[in-house]
């Protein structure tokens, strides 16, 4: 990944984080005690900080880090959330957003940003000072808290210089500072007097010599001998920021009663809540599995012993140590055998300890549900944004790339069973063959899961297409002088991305048709007793493994008389045939290619708004179109589409001037063989490839195409080596072309009986590609 991509990703994620954080901050204000919210907020800020750190955007990190430290204390309960903290955080996050925008524009953070960042960071850290802590803390929480991250001044006895300050100046909350610059500091460009003079919130400033001034004759004005003492009522953090370049020359004290002794930290490992929850869940699950085990008939003594040990070990991981030790004690004193152990397991069940209720025994004795080690059903992911799960925005070409890679892997893995077979047959490696097969089944399952998963990722709500309709309807109806209301239902219904994309144009065509021909002018409608405003309804719903899209209008319906006439006029059907059609059949005439007139060229696509175009597009994605109409009342078009698409990868080959597709998972290799290398024996042809004899058949012959296979410029044949069951055969073709992902449509109707073909696929240019079934051909 190059650095621009990385930066783009960072910006994308950072914006997502900030959005979440902003929302959470508002939610937390309303529910400041909600631990889950606070933890989530902390995690978001923590992630943001981590990301900022990767890029060395110091001002950004400074601000976010301060926020993180603050939030860490809040979620630990050692700091009470209040309006001041909320404001500081919101302001800091707003500024962070500004910086991100700057980074997006310039690729970097401007140097000037540091000042503001410092100030915001200081403002945040101010809340960490002990004055804030004292208010909120319960003793137990304080003991458990991790060491405060703010620089709490060491509570030493007050130094003399501090005591020497005028009493009026020594007010609690103020910061006293002694600055002893080093002798050579002028040559470093420092100006200590100026620095001290500029301290924020300066209330008192004293200058004295560090040592007595030298005699005038030997006095060196460029050797710094100043000792500066000052008091400021600015927040300590501000003062620290001010002197950040000379921290070792500065001694700082907070003026007030010595702060509460730093919690004699028993730094208990503060286990993240989510981790604790996960562990509790797992422990309970394994606990219940043991209970089920104990209920199995004919359990061996050894198994009981092992289960006893398992319980002991689970208790060792159980967070509630008091409950665990009493359970342990009881366990140690148990009589041997499955029954006492089972009874104990019920009595000391960890879930009961916290919730007081227990899974019923009957449920437990039921057979153990095997736990999948892998991800739970992908169905969870679809549209999970609404549940508050984290949602990532990803650009579509990344998804497409992922899909390509998965497709490639799906094909690549297919080599493994073949290799296994070779290992066994050719190299006599039975063991190896078995291992390869085992590994293949693992990889195969993962690959299928991945393919399924990426298909799920590609699911988009149909609403993404419906979005543009409102504007479209408004503009066109205005242009035509009609009054139309667009009603959209079910825009959350999801379908595969390809399907949705291929629907965009057809849907627009259909809508335009409705607006042009379907819905009448207001005057006409009123005359017909209809409301002046027409309704165009687009409804989507899911039914089983299909998505149904209904587009209906309450217009004039299809005028079958006109349709029949037009079809005859265009020479699409003979006149007598046109007359004999039923009403419903007549309506279907609009699907005939060439039906739409040149004059009705859509300004959207430049092509005719023919229903044949619509039907093609829909069928290309394996869907169907149905049209029904009631004269005077309206028209309904129903699109039925697959939920996700089964894609087959085929290689295109050419022979006798025709193209065919061959499923990739049958293909072993493609190779060019010099004509002279082909052995002829009677009518059979063979070639030796990599030490194997491969029989050859000319595809033209198999397809009863009366042409010999063509040689290329180097007098070579193109041979497609395919694996059919246990045999390998080389097919002589004219040429290979690339591979392609297609949606295989099985042969239907009168074509079902034909052998040699697996089906057809509609290509992007509208042509039909026949997909071969070599097994049936040979």
């Amino acid at each position: 990944m190059n650095s621009t991509e990385l930066l783009d990703q960072f910006i994308l994620e950072a914006r997502e984080c900030l959005e979440q954080i902003g929302q959470r901050l508002l939610e937390v204000e309303r529910a400041p005690d909600d631990k889950a919210l606070l933890n989530d907020l902390f995690r978001q800020v923590h992630t943001l900080k981590g990301n900022c750190g990767l890029f060395d955007f110091k001002p950004l990190e400074r601000v976010v880090h301060a926020g993180e430290d603050l939030l860490d204390r809040v979620r630990n309960g050692t700091l009470a959330y209040n309006a001041g903290i909320a404001d500081a955080l919101l302001e800091a996050m707003d500024y962070t957003g500004e910086l991100i925008d700057l980074i997006a524009k310039e690729g970097n953070v401007p140097a000037a940003a540091d000042t503001r960042a410092q100030a915001l960071a200081a403002a945040l850290r101010q809340h960490l000072s002990p004055a804030g802590v004292a208010a909120a803390v319960a003793p137990a929480a304080a003991a458990a808290a991790s060491a405060a991250s703010a620089p709490v001044p060491v509570p030493e006895p007050e130094p003399d210089w501090l005591k020497a300050l005028p009493a009026a100046v020594r007010q609690p909350g103020r910061v006293a500072l002694r600055y002893r610059p080093e002798a050579e500091c002028f040559f470093k460009g420092e100006d200590p007097w100026h620095l001290a003079r500029q301290t924020p919130g300066l209330q008192h400033l004293q200058a004295a010599p560090q040592q007595a001034w030298a005699a005038p004759e030997v006095f060196d004005c460029y050797r710094c001998n100043l000792l500066l003492t000052l008091v400021s009522d600015a927040p300590q953090a501000y003062v620290e920021e001010h002197f950040r370049y000379v921290p070792e020359q500065v001694e700082l004290h907070l003026l007030q009663a010595p702060p509460a002794a730093a919690p004699a930290a028993a730094p208990a490992a503060v286990v993240d809540d989510a981790v604790g929850e996960l562990m509790r869940g797992r422990i309970v699950r394994i606990w219940d599995e043991q209970r089920a085990l104990l209920g199995r008939p004919g359990i061996a003594a050894g198994t009981v012993a092992a289960t006893h040990t398992t319980f002991n070990h689970l208790l060792a991981c159980w967070a509630d140590t008091t409950a665990a030790s009493s359970a342990r004690r009881a366990l140690a004193g148990l009589a041997p055998g499955a029954t006492p152990l089972a009874g104990w397991a019920v009595q000391y069940h960890p879930a009961a300890a916290s919730t007081g209720d227990l899974p019923s025994p009957s449920a437990i004795v039921a057979p153990l549900e095997p736990r999948r080690g892998s991800t739970p059903a992908v169905a969870d992911e679809a549209g999970a944004g609404a549940n508050g799960q984290k949602v990532l925005r990803v650009s579509q070409d990344k998804i497409d790339r992922l899909m390509d890679l998965i497709g490639e892997m799906v094909v690549a893995k297919n080599a493994l069973p073949y290799l296994a077979q070779r290992a066994e047959d050719v190299f006599n490696q039975r063991e190896l063959a078995r291992e390869i097969k085992t590994q293949y089944s693992v990889i195969n399952r993962i690959a299928e899961d991945m393919q399924h998963a990426i298909m799920q990722v590609r699911m988009l709500p149909v609403g993404t297409v419906f979005q543009r309709f409102g504007r479209l309807v408004r503009d066109i109806s205005k242009k035509l002088g009609k009054d139309v209301s667009l009603v959209i239902e079910g825009e959350d219904t999801e379908a595969d991305k390809n399907v949705i994309e291929s629907l965009a144009d057809p849907l627009i065509h259909i809508l335009r048709n409705s607006l042009d021909h379907g819905i009448e002018l207001p005057a006409v409608r009123l005359a017909a007793g209809k409301p002046a405003q027409g309704t165009l309804r687009v409804a989507a719903r899911q039914e089983g493994d299909r998505v149904i899209l209904d587009i209906s209008d309450d217009g004039a319906g299809v005028h079958t008389g006109r349709v029949r006439a037009k079809a005859v006029e265009r020479g699409l059907i003979p006149a007598d045939r046109a007359d004999s059609l039923t009403e419903h059949e007549a309506v279907q005439l609009v699907f005939l290619p060439g039906f739409s007139t040149a004059e009705a060229i859509s300004d959207l696509s430049g092509r005719g708004v023919g229903m044949d175009v619509v039907r093609n597009a829909v069928e290309r994605v394996n869907g169907t179109v149905e049209l029904s109409s009631t004269p005077g009342q309206g028209t309904k078009i129903r699109l039925t589409l697959p939920l996700s698409m089964a894609v087959t990868n085929v290689m295109m080959i050419e022979t006798a001037g025709r193209r065919f597709g061959v499923p990739m998972d049958l293909i072993v290799e493609t190779v060019r063989v010099p004509a002279e290398d082909i052995h002829h024996f009677k009518r059979a042809q063979t070639v030796v490839l990599r030490g194997r004899i491969v029989p050859l058949r000319a595809l033209n012959e198999l397809l009863a195409l009366d042409m010999p296979p063509r040689l290329n410029a180097d007098a070579e044949h193109a041979v497609l080596v395919v694996r059919l069951g246990a045999e390998t055969i080389g097919l002589l073709v004219d040429d290979f072309h690339g591979t392609s992902d297609i949606i295989l449509k099985p042969l239907e109707g009168v074509l079902t009986g034909i052998t040699g073909f697996a089906g057809t696929a509609l290509m992007g240019d509208g042509s039909v590609l026949m997909i071969l079934n070599p097994k049936e051909l040979v």
Partner: protein
């Protein structure tokens, strides 16, 4: 020029930088009873402050900056 050397006194005006510290120190040493006028003085570099604190000239007009005035007062005391 931030420092005007007049017959009876040196007038420090505006912002007096480190470069002027040496010359001021020399002038003060050469005078019998050096006097400085700081009425129009806005800012001094630490080195200049050191000169004023170490050589302790009489201040005929205090600077506007109270902290500087205070520091010089304390030094003179």
């Amino acid at each position: 020029m931030p420092i005007r050397y007049l017959k009876k006194h040196a007038a420090l005006e505006g912002q007096v930088s480190a470069d002027d510290a040496e010359a001021l120190g020399q002038w003060l040493r050469d005078q019998n009873a050096p006097v400085v006028h700081l009425g129009k003085c806005d800012q001094v570099h630490s080195a200049v402050l050191q000169v004023l604190m170490a050589l302790r000239p009489r201040v005929s007009a205090p600077p506007a900056d109270p902290w500087l005035a205070e520091a010089l007062n304390a030094a003179a005391a």
